[in-house]
């Protein structure tokens, strides 16, 4: 699903965010990426979703080499990847239904199909009865579930979760992780970036540890090392 070869990224001022990263993620895997602040986790995510360009190396997503991706190709890539963030990134002036529907409307889906899919996704995340609410009327956990529903409407093969539980309490954290496991069980590859030790240890899955821009550990059944 993801193939990364000798990937490096630096920012102006000689700040090296990632150095010679090599990584292979197979379809259907649930991979946790851990590391302290500034270790390069979020940079890696931004490169995978083509939000930033890297300086050297090769990055292949679902067979598509995005090393030289053009601006007009980014929307096509992003429709194939679901993304969720710590701060949810919901459109504040749109309702729950509209937020989820927007991702499909932007791609030109028909209204009937949008209505059907959005209802299914809201049911999946348990928010069907809150479709008409605005984000500020929801709890943090509910907002994250809206974001997850939105990320799934394109039925992506890859779901990237960047600190999705960072703003949530332990109960909501468990619910969100359970939801991600459920989505993974349905066949979607999940890439979870987190620094929540308990989450990583309870998952008992593959754990990649980043430190100072390097991958220092890649364990098939790993634990939180740092």
């Amino acid at each position: 699903m993801i193939k990364i070869f000798d990937l490096s990224k630096s920012y102006p001022g000689q700040v090296q965010a990632l150095k010679d990263v090599n990584l292979h993620v197979r379809p259907g895997e649930f991979v946790s990426i851990v590391g302290q602040s500034g270790s390069g986790k979020s940079t890696l995510i931004r490169l995978i979703i083509a939000e930033e360009k890297f300086n050297q190396g090769k990055l292949i997503i679902g067979g598509w080499d995005i090393s030289g991706i053009k601006d007009q190709e980014r929307p096509t890539l992003r429709r194939q990847i679901g993304v969720i963030f710590q701060d949810f990134k919901l459109l504040p002036k749109k309702t729950v239904f509209e937020n989820v529907a927007f991702a499909m409307e932007a791609c030109g889906f028909k209204r009937a199909e949008i209505r059907k899919t959005v209802s299914q996704m809201l049911a999946l995340v348990g928010l069907k009865d809150k479709a008409d609410r605005y984000p500020h009327q929801l709890s943090g956990g509910e907002q994250q579930r809206v974001a997850i529903a939105r990320s799934l409407v394109h039925k992506p093969k890859l779901l990237v979760a960047d600190e999705p539980t960072g703003n949530l309490d332990s109960i909501n954290t468990r619910e969100i992780i359970d939801l991600l496991k459920k989505i993974n069980a349905l066949g979607t590859t999940v890439l979870l970036v987190t620094h929540n030790k308990d989450v990583v240890n309870n998952l008992k899955g593959r754990v990649i540890t980043l430190d100072g821009g390097y991958i220092i550990s890649d364990q098939a059944k790993g634990r939180y090392l740092l």
Binding site: R79, K89, L91, F102, A103, E105, C107, H154
Partner: protein
């Protein structure tokens, strides 16, 4: 088709859900439009005034009493041969009497006619001459001042409107100059405020735009509702302007008509 409808839907949603921001933007556009409209209106009235005054200018020649109609006709033909003359109007003694009677002169002055016997008309022929240009009047007066017309012309009155027009022009140029400064400052303030409003609008939508990109919206699909929103702001401002200016025009229209008619006379 779906995209177009969605763009319209999103633009209207944006307009309504950012109500106060929309209101401020429309108000700023309206103020800029109002100042330009007022300036154009004032300039139109100024031009109409000058045109009206220019049309009023003529040389009025009173001919000697008892000059026969044939000689008047000959004199007029000679005048019309001049390249400077645009139009001549012959006023018969009867018309002159009627004009006198209908004039604003006091009744006492009008009673002066009573000393003449019935059927006797103290008025003579008059000729009103209009030139193409203000600067051509001296040539026409020089032509009339020729010795051969001494026995024909009793009096000539050249209303010196030229200085009057110059005064109006100077005054309107001054008014224009300062009104442009005032309007210029106003438009500048409006532009700055609109620019800032737009920047605030873009800033407040920055996160939203980023999210739209993240979920796979193309740049065109993101931009179109914002552009349409801008068009709707402008349309709103123009409609309010029309709504304000039309009743105002209706209100001052009788006064304007009177004003223009009095200038055309």
């Amino acid at each position: 088709m779906y995209s177009l409808l969605r763009v319209i839907k999103f633009a209207l949603q944006g307009l309504w859900r950012n109500f106060w921001l929309s209101l401020v933007t429309i108000t700023m556009m309206l103020m800029a439009l109002l100042s330009v409209t007022l300036l154009v209106g004032v300039d139109y009235i100024r031009q109409a005034t000058i045109q009206g005054v220019e049309q009023k200018i003529d040389i009025l020649i009173s001919l000697q009493p008892d000059v026969p109609a044939e000689e008047v006709e000959k004199f007029v033909l000679e005048l019309e041969d001049l390249t400077e003359v645009k139009k001549t109007t012959v006023i018969t003694p009867e018309q002159n009497r009627t004009l006198f009677e209908q004039s604003n002169l006091s009744d006492q002055a009008k009673k002066a006619l009573e000393i003449f016997e019935e059927g006797e008309n103290p008025f003579s022929y008059s000729v009103a001459i209009q030139a193409y240009d203000l600067e051509q009047y001296p040539a026409i007066t020089a032509f009339i001042d020729q010795e051969k017309y001494n026995n024909l012309v009793e009096d000539k009155s050249f209303h010196d409107y030229q200085s009057f027009i110059e005064k109006i022009n100077n005054l309107s140029a001054t008014v224009n100059k300062y009104s442009w400064y005032v309007i210029g400052i106003f438009v500048l303030i409006s532009v700055i405020v609109i620019f800032n409003t737009m920047r605030i609008s873009i800033y407040s939508h920055k996160e939203e735009i980023m999210i739209m990109k993240l979920v796979g919206a193309t740049n065109g699909f993101i931009r179109a509702p914002f552009l349409l929103e801008g068009v709707l702001y402008a349309l709103g401002a123009v409609l309010i302007l029309v709504g304000l200016v039309y009743p105002l025009l209706g209100f001052i229209q009788p006064w304007l008509s009177n004003y223009f008619q009095s200038n055309e006379r």
